[in-house]
């Protein structure tokens, strides 16, 4: 019978693969669903331009 630590080792390998696969599949799905313009449309300080005027 496998001891608990051997089971944990296999479990850790399996979970690593699951998390990795989730990230890669979602990455491919996202990149193929949205255009590059939308994905890279973030600009620094845009929210501040609306909410903070930097005036005393």
């Amino acid at each position: 019978m496998m001891d608990i630590w051997t089971v944990l080792e296999y479990g850790a390998w399996a979970l690593s693969v699951i998390f990795g696969a989730y990230i890669v599949l979602d990455w491919i799905k996202t990149d193929s669903t949205y255009s590059e313009e939308v994905l890279t449309s973030s600009r620094e300080g845009e929210l501040e331009a609306m909410t903070e005027q930097h005036k005393l």
Binding site: W27, L39, E52, L56
Partner: protein, 462 residues
């Protein structure tokens, strides 16, 4: 395919969802592992009192860092933290270097934390009678799980950090209360264990390097600037509460450990707080501090992934790196490509490099970053005096904290040079080479006007 979905948004950006408690958790979470392990190598260099001097010396250094950071970042509410500050205040080449310092410091620290998770699992397995545990699946799982968490959204990521960081900090407080130094029944033996400086003042200087471990990473709070609901208020509040927490945790940790272990043992201990719990004679304290050690390690790795990816993302968004890295996930609103890109790098270092080298490169990158900060804040006050930009926090006694920070950094460079001269020279040579690459090649791709979109007034004299 690259076509927009039917009801796809036109623009996506990071999400402003965090509060001051998340900022505290990000700052303290990255650092607290340094209380659980690492700081005690300074004890081996110069004895117990040298480690205390290093603790407060580095505490002064980081208090200056926290105050300076709080003022500048309360006006620069954008991802990238010190990279973005450098871009606006000093210039592109400084910003490029600072961005790399950040990514290196955090990714190396993440790798170091993952190695530690593997070591902790091996220690627990050995305590239960299992020898020869394969540490690799636990190292990889810690990186993959935390990358997944970061990928899915910043609110869950930092709420998770808040819970495990609060647990790890509370464990230190509980250990202090249970060992009851004020009572006669306390297991602490300061009177018997404390000695004079075994290697004199040179030992104190050599232990300075390890004083940084108590606080290294508190400056990471600024990376959340674009995702916090009220940056001008929350960033200074979270950062300053964080450094106060760490000063308390560091001093208590030193006090308990030197009262329970002789300095000759403490200086080489792998997990000193865990050992302190074992010496307290309470089995539930051993479990508590064991879990606290694991949580502190995970919190640090988690915060590192968050911070390194924001710095990498900000550099991509400004075209300092390929703009491909400047993408935001339309659903999770995270810099997902930067998170993904840094995963294999962290894995390579975690699986293929020794812990002390990994941590040394992290500390050296951090030190270069701290040297930039006083220059940054002096230029900030000069170009944008107090009456030109509204600040969420104004740090007192300017320019004394900046000058103190500069002086303390100089001493630390000397101390690091004594112990890790080759690495220091190699690191500086690396940054010189990449600076040349940036200046002569990469900067031509930067859209010079588009990188300054903050609604700031013109600097004084321009």
């Amino acid at each position: 395919m690259a076509t927009s979905a039917t009801n796809a948004p036109e623009k996506v950006g990071l999400l402003r969802v965090l509060g001051p408690a998340h900022i505290w958790a990000l700052g303290v979470g990255i650092v607290l592992v340094g209380e659980y392990m690492g700081w005690n190598f300074g004890v081996a260099k110069g004895g117990a009192f040298a480690a205390l001097i290093a603790c407060w010396f580095a505490g002064t250094l980081y208090t200056c860092v926290a105050m300076i950071d709080s003022e500048v970042t309360s006006t620069v509410a954008a991802a990238g933290g010190q990279y973005t500050q450098a871009k606006h205040i000093v210039g592109p080449l400084m910003a490029f270097n600072v961005g790399l310092y950040l990514v290196f410091a955090y990714t190396m620290l993440e790798a170091g934390n993952a190695i530690t998770v593997g070591y902790l699992m091996d220690t627990v397995a050995a305590m239960t009678g299992h020898s020869g545990l394969d540490q690799r699946p636990f190292i990889i799982l810690s990186i993959m799980f935390l990358a997944w968490l970061n990928y899915r959204g910043v609110l869950a990521t930092l709420t998770f950090n808040l819970v495990i960081t609060a647990f790890a900090f509370s464990s230190i407080l509980i250990l202090f209360v249970v060992t009851a130094p004020w009572s006669d029944a306390s297991p602490m033996r300061h009177a018997e264990l404390m000695t004079d400086l075994p290697y004199g003042w040179l030992g104190v200087l050599a232990s300075m390097h390890f004083g940084l471990w108590y606080y290294l990473g508190i400056e990471g709070t600024t990376q959340a600037a674009e995702e916090v609901r009220s940056p001008a208020r929350s960033l200074p509040f979270g950062t300053l509460a964080g450094i106060m927490t760490l000063l308390i945790a560091a001093t208590l940790t030193w006090y308990m450990c030197v009262g329970l272990m002789p300095w000759e043992y403490l200086g080489g201990a792998g997990v000193p707080l865990f050992d302190a719990a074992r010496l307290s004679g309470s089995s539930w304290l051993v479990v508590l501090l064991g879990v606290g050690t694991l949580f502190a390690t995970l919190a640090s790795a988690n915060g590192c992934i968050n911070d390194a990816s924001r710095a990498w993302f900000a550099m991509g968004r400004d075209h300092y790196l390929p703009s491909w890295f400047g993408a935001v996930h339309p659903k999770f609103r995270t810099p997902y490509r930067s998170i993904i890109f840094l995963v294999p790098i962290a894995l390579i270092f975690a699986l293929g490099a020794p812990l002390d080298q990994v941590i040394t490169f992290s500390i050296l990158s951090g030190l270069l970053e701290y040297t930039f900060m006083p220059i940054n804040v002096i230029m900030f006050r000069k170009k944008w005096p107090l009456d030109t930009i509204k600040r969420g926090y104004v740090h007192p006694f300017h320019p004394i904290p900046a000058l103190v920070l500069l002086a303390l950094c100089s001493v630390t460079y000397f101390a690091v040079f004594l112990g890790y001269g080759t690495q220091l020279v190699a690191m500086v040579a690396f940054y010189i080479v990449v600076s040349l690459w940036f200046h002569f090649w990469r900067y031509r791709f930067v859209n010079r006007g588009a990188q300054f979109t903050m609604p700031w007034p013109r600097p004084k004299g321009y």
